[in-house]
């Protein structure tokens, strides 16, 4: 058996959050730059330039990219050989608390949807757990903004609606959202599973790297077709027109019921903040033997 120190979880969660709120993946910045070069709409070009400048300022002056430092979403891949003698979710929330309180990030979480009283430390995080072989834990973390989350959508289609139904639903969602989710977007799509599974598939999709290519031929074809069609919607950066409505589309699928065709679309704003770390467990030696 193997273990990972509680403190290592806390420190890594804190570090990843503090870094991700001011730094985007290089592939995302590269996508903004190449989109800016291709855009002919002057307003779209000007906005993309400002988004790139914003990233430079955030980095050099240590200021968050966006004032909405999000709700924290965590996907854990937990090695089956690991043993935890503490509450893992609690440790993650301690890391979140330290990042938001000590790091001057905005606390955007309220205790109850109706009483709207702030928890004052941005906890609790939304945490998902998966198990994997081995003695490592992989922590995927993202401070997810409210604006793009609000424009995300889920629909239980009829199987007869097929691929066309999926595409139409996604295009309608993005067109109607306009500038509200802060495009250019990364579009996470889930198809299949059931009601809750499809939402998690879509959420996981926005955690994939921009250059990640799915091996599933159906999903791959859908990613290519959606990318092209979304960028023809003329939503553009911040909804003011242009050919850059999204910089990536990621589709994840899962088997589903004969009667169902669930589809979910989770929108990621241009402040596509995320981070991941792999921690390797230390072997627990049994001193009694």
């Amino acid at each position: 058996m193997y273990k990972i120190e509680r403190n290592s979880i806390i420190e890594n969660v804190k570090r990843m959050l503090l870094e991700s709120v001011k730094t985007l993946d290089k592939e995302v910045i590269d996508a903004f730059q190449s989109s800016r070069d291709k855009e002919e709409n002057p307003l779209a070009k000007s906005i993309l330039n400002k988004i790139i400048q914003n990233h430079e300022i955030a980095n050099s002056k240590d200021i968050p990219l966006c004032q909405d430092t999000g709700i924290v979403v965590v996907f854990l891949e937990i090695g089956r050989e690991l043993h935890f003698d503490y509450d893992l979710d609690e440790a993650i929330n301690v890391g979140v608390r330290q990042a938001y309180v000590d790091g001057y990030l905005r606390k955007s979480i309220v205790k109850h949807p109706l009483n709207r009283i702030n928890t004052l430390d941005n906890t609790p995080a939304v945490i998902h757990h998966d198990f994997i072989p081995g003695n490592k834990i992989i922590i995927h973390i993202a401070p997810k903004g409210g604006g793009s989350e609000n424009m995300s959508a889920l629909k239980m289609l009829s199987p007869s609606e097929g691929k066309e139904g999926i595409i139409n639903f996604i295009l309608k969602t993005i067109k109607e959202a306009g500038g509200r989710p802060c495009p250019p977007l990364i579009v996470g799509v889930g198809i299949g599973g059931n009601f809750e599974k499809v939402a998690i598939l879509a959420k996981k999709a926005i955690f994939r790297h921009l250059d990640d290519v799915t091996i599933n031929p159906y999903d791959k074809e859908l990613e290519i077709e959606l990318m092209e069609k979304i960028n023809k919607l003329d939503v553009g950066p911040m909804g003011l027109g242009g050919i850059t409505t999204c910089i990536g589309v990621k589709v994840n699928s899962f088997p589903c019921h004969i009667a169902s065709l669930p589809v979910a679309v989770n929108l990621q704003c241009h402040s596509a903040r995320k981070s991941e770390v792999t921690l390797v467990g230390k072997e627990i030696t049994n001193t009694n033997n």
């Binding site: 001011k22 307003l43 000007s46 906005i47 400002k50 988004i51 400048q53 914003n54 990233h55 300022i57 955030a58 002056k61 240590d62 200021i63 968050p64 990219l65 966006c66 004032q67 909405d68 430092t69 001057y104 990030l105 905005r106 606390k107 955007s108 709207r116 702030n118 004052l120 604006g147 609000n150 306009g178 500038g179 509200r180 802060c182 911040m238 909804g239 003011l240 704003c269 241009h270 402040s271």
Partner: protein, 173 residues
């Protein structure tokens, strides 16, 4: 070329602005978002005085990150404006002229802006770091308990925005 605007923005200046114009705002603006709007409207409905005179003023929909000890303000990009649609007419009735936020608003809101000959400006969402560099003063005005949603008076210099709804109710969307 951006047009330079000084707050309070006068009726004469408002009339020179068209949808799609890029502007740079300097002067004082007030912050307020969902929770602060709700409280302001409650005060109006109870015939109680507002914590600041909204007449001819500019309201910016923002909830900034806390300022670090060496900073005037943290990241301070706009939040979505549509959530303020049901509150804004009350404030415009009291003389509020200009609103800054992100995204579209309800179709009916174009008529509200036209009725009061006001202005809706777009700030670019997600530019929290860049926009923080335009703020040179930051003073708490009211509702401190709302944390990031408290009302603040900011002094800004060359704050970039785009005209989204003009005084005649024409919209960029």
């Amino acid at each position: 070329m951006e047009k330079k605007l000084q707050t309070p923005i006068t009726n004469e200046v408002i009339k020179t602005l068209s949808v799609g114009d890029e502007v740079l705002i300097s002067g004082y603006i007030y912050t307020a978002r969902d929770a602060a709007h709700k409280l302001l409207i409650e005060l109006i409905e109870n015939n109680e005085p507002l914590p600041f005179d909204v007449k001819d003023q500019v309201v910016y929909y923002v909830g900034p990150t806390p300022a670090k000890p060496n900073q005037v303000i943290g990241a301070c990009g706009p939040t979505s404006s549509y959530r303020m649609d049901k509150y804004s007419p009350y404030l415009m009735e009291k003389g509020l002229k200009v609103m800054i936020g992100k995204g579209d608003r309800s179709k009916e809101f174009n008529d509200v802006v036209a009725k009061y000959k006001g202005l809706y400006l777009l700030a670019i969402g997600g530019l929290g770091a860049k926009l923080s560099q335009c703020v040179i003063e930051n003073e708490l005005v009211a509702f401190e308990h709302l944390q990031s949603e408290a009302i603040r008076r900011l002094k800004v210099v060359d704050f970039p925005a785009i005209v989204a709804i003009d005084y005649q109710g024409n919209s960029i969307f």
